[in-house]
């Protein structure tokens, strides 16, 4: 087995493939003299709304702000509680804290997403919303979550930061709750070249409020309706995003293909993620689990394969969460997964040969282990 170096991410190939289109978008936007809001942003928003099957898409500064602004638009603040998953990127929790509300964490299921059957016990009189995270690009179990929310009068805000294009019972994420926040960070399946985010919703009133809130609370140039924020998707980034949106389904399909190859070749030696019949995961990450995690990661790296852990410390065990009252043992599944997970490289430009090489390396690790 000749050593091949495989980076965890590769954004260069995608750029080179689209360079002419992207350069043109840069020049067109540049010459328009409109770098904030404007027609180019509107054009992307219309296409993104169509793509997600919703009435409104609103470009914002980044994925965290997408969630933060939704919570603010729902008047969530001090004294309120918002429920989310403990195995997520830290932003899923800080957006709640940033409104002044308290994040309430819940353990996850084998699919790394919030375990709906554990949510009810976390609901109190102060609970206002549930933020299910579609981690790794896999939709959370939305039917159960929506039912719970309905029974308890709670808002459902999807954290779809990693999941654009994923489907649940045939419906796009972003259309599965009251509103959803997407990230367009460069590393995402639909990524721009800086920070960017998107909100989707079918609620007209919420959408109008969000459009005002993201732009200084302005009613028009001279009148401020409510003291707002400044969180806008840069027009130039919207131009890049619009081009890439045209390729997203092809890219997501390729990631699903890679995932299938990994699954077939690795299922005997590690725990692999798989799709339920009602879902289409877009594999922002392909996360395997093994008791030999640290050894396997080292072995992969020695053989040129860069991997990551998403995430090695669950939110409830972070220093930032020390005042929330959780401790080691609070969420056994998330804690167990944090010690056993590895994210393998997965991106559209990863070749079949590279995928095969990675699966060989993983299998040979376990072969060698068996011989010891």
């Amino acid at each position: 087995m000749t050593k091949i170096t495989i980076p965890f991410v590769d954004m260069t190939s995608q750029f080179r493939n689209l360079e002419d289109e992207l350069t043109k978008a840069f020049i067109d936007t540049g010459r328009s003299g409109v770098y904030i809001m404007g027609e180019q942003l509107e054009s992307f928003e219309i296409k993104a709304a169509q793509y997600c099957g919703v009435k409104h898409a609103i470009g914002v500064g980044h994925g965290s702000d997408a969630l933060f602004l939704i919570l603010k638009a729902l008047d969530i603040g001090p004294g309120d509680e918002v429920i989310t998953a403990t195995n997520s990127f830290i932003a899923s929790a800080w957006v709640v804290a940033a409104t002044g509300a308290t994040p309430v964490l819940v353990d996850v299921a084998e699919d790394f997403n919030i375990e709906p059957t554990l949510i009810e016990a976390a609901i109190t009189a102060q609970t206002r919303a549930i933020i299910p995270v579609h981690l790794t690009g896999r939709p959370a179990r939305m039917d159960e979550i929506n039912l719970l929310a309905q029974r308890n009068g709670l808002h459902v805000v999807e954290d779809a930061a990693q999941a654009i294009g994923a489907r649940y019972h045939g419906r796009q994420v972003g259309s599965l709750g009251l509103a959803a926040g997407f990230s367009l960070h460069p590393l995402k399946n639909l990524g721009v070249y800086g920070d960017g985010g998107l909100i989707t919703t079918n609620d007209d009133k919420l959408a109008s409020k969000l459009r005002i809130l993201r732009n200084h609370g302005l009613r028009n140039r001279d009148e401020c309706e409510v003291w707002g924020f400044n969180s806008r998707l840069d027009t130039m980034q919207a131009a890049f995003a619009e081009i890439k949106l045209g390729y997203l389904d092809i890219w997501n399909e390729r990631c699903r293909e890679i995932a299938a190859k990994y699954r077939t070749s690795l299922a005997d030696v590690v725990q692999v993620p798989f799709d339920q019949e009602w879902e289409e995961c877009v594999y922002h990450n392909f996360v395997i689990r093994t008791e030999k995690r640290d050894e396997l990661m080292t072995y992969l790296l020695e053989h040129g394969v860069d991997t990551r852990i998403h995430y090695p410390i669950p939110i409830h065990l972070q220093e930032a969460a020390k005042d929330l009252g959780y401790k080691a043992g609070s969420f056994p599944k998330a804690e167990k997964y944090a010690k056993t997970m590895i994210s393998l490289p997965i991106y559209p430009d990863l070749s079949d040969d590279q995928v095969t090489y990675i699966t060989h390396v993983v299998n040979s690790f376990f072969d060698e282990l068996g011989k010891k």
Binding site: V9, M11, F15, R16, T23, F26, I27, G30, G33, V34, Y35, I36, M37, G38, E42, E45, I46, K55, H56, A57, I58, G61, H62, S64, P78, I90, A91, A98, P103, H185, P186, Y193, G194, D195, A207, I212, N215, H216, G217, L218, R219, R221, D222, E223, C224, E225, V226, W227, F229, N230, D234, M236, I309, P312, I313, I315, Q318, E319, A320, A321
Partner: protein, 382 residues
């Protein structure tokens, strides 16, 4: 079908009808090839989030500001918000500021959880320091002077009252890149200073961006943590924080323009001086006070005039992009209803809001264009 009508504030728009515009981005974009080449390198390196161009810009910006630190953030608004948060401002606190500013100053204070407490301004559009002391209560945490239009406030007086009551000063220097007060840069005039790189600022990027300057190591460390999810390294979160970063590709634009900032500033000052000189004789116009020990950089060139709305319409009809920054002071905004102010509370701010007009003075304006504007104004009053 989606109804995605965006509200586009007028100042971002470039009108084809107008010959003399506030928006100069088209002219500036003529330099785009050198910038695209550098942006491309960032993209190919994959160096997007807090990349090396941001680090270098921060060092360069700290150097020109004469401060130990500069911290790139997502916008000028965020610069103010994060500065207040770094100082621990939150629910129940009060921040003293001016009634005459852009909405973002107040939005940042309110987002931080605090109550904005307004002071009136002087005829130079800046906060009247003699009003501050009377507004101080046990809840006051910060004085937030706005260096409006690029003219630094009367800082000696503000620093004196801040020291007397042990209050921090957060300077809203969003208009004031390159400005100085008694030879001290706008970035070094308070505990922290906040700058905007909005596309139409003197030093701009091609999207939203901002930067904070400070001499405090402690605050700088805190801000660096707070702008990036509270993360230390990739995996450890020390505090629930925020996300507000200057995009690396935008740092490329900022660095490119930083090399031209002296030219940009000097052109604006020269254009402003020329308007001052030529319009001083018009009896219907009042030129705001200029101070010998203050270097103002004219992000906005504003003067007060009679029959303002008529003059503005006349100029626009004749191809001049005359603007009003801004016709309604903060205390009279619908958003401020809950604070219980009424007309008459801040008479100078209100008078200036009714009579101020802004003329383009950016570096691409020519002497002929200025002469044309001057002639139109004189014709209007004749």
């Amino acid at each position: 079908m989606a109804t995605t009508k965006n509200f586009l504030p007028e100042q971002y728009r470039q009108s084809n009808k107008l010959g003399i515009n506030h928006n100069y981005l088209n002219e500036q974009f003529s330099d785009h090839e050198v910038i695209w080449t550098k942006m491309r390198e960032v993209v190919i390196r994959g160096d997007f989030t807090l990349g090396s161009e941001v680090d270098i810009l921060e060092k360069e910006y700290a150097q020109i500001s004469g401060t130990s630190h500069a911290i790139g953030v997502g916008s000028g608004t965020d610069a103010i918000f994060l500065s207040l948060k770094a100082l621990g401002v939150g629910e129940g606190d009060e921040v003293i500021t001016t009634a005459f500013t852009f909405y973002a100053t107040i939005g940042a204070i309110v987002t931080a959880g605090a109550k904005p407490v307004f002071c009136d301004i002087r005829e130079d559009y800046n906060i009247d320091p003699s009003e501050i002391e009377a507004k101080i209560t046990p809840a006051t945490k910060v004085i937030l002077p706005v260096h409006w239009s690029g003219k630094p406030c009367d800082m000696d007086a503000i620093v004196e009252v801040a020291q007397k009551y042990n209050l921090a000063i957060v300077g809203d220097a969003c208009h004031a890149i390159g400005a100085s007060y008694k030879s001290r840069t706008a970035g070094s005039l308070g505990t922290l200073a906040c700058f905007s790189f909005h596309p139409l600022k003197n030093l701009n990027v091609w999207g939203d961006g901002g930067i904070i300057t400070t001499n405090s190591d402690e605050l700088a460390d805190k801000l660096r943590l707070m702008r990036n999810h509270g993360l230390v390294g990739r995996d450890e979160c020390h505090t629930f924080a925020y996300n507000s970063r200057l995009d690396t590709i935008q740092a490329v634009v900022a660095r490119h323009l930083l090399g031209k900032i002296n030219h940009i500033t000097e052109s604006r000052v020269a254009h402003a001086d020329y308007f001052d000189k030529e319009l001083r004789s018009v009896s219907q116009i009042i030129i705001p006070k200029r101070d010998a020990d203050i270097y103002q950089v004219y992000h906005i060139y504003s003067i007060c005039c009679q029959r303002r709305n008529e003059l503005q319409n006349y100029l626009i009809e004749n191809g001049v992009d005359a603007k009003v920054h801004y016709p309604i002071p903060m205390h009279l905004q619908p958003a401020a209803n809950y604070l219980g102010h009424e007309k008459g509370d801040f008479p100078i701010a209100e008078t200036i809001a009714d009579s101020t007009i802004s003329l383009p003075v950016h570096e691409f304006i020519s002497r002929e264009q200025q002469d044309h504007v001057i002639k139109l104004i004189k014709d209007f009053y004749d």
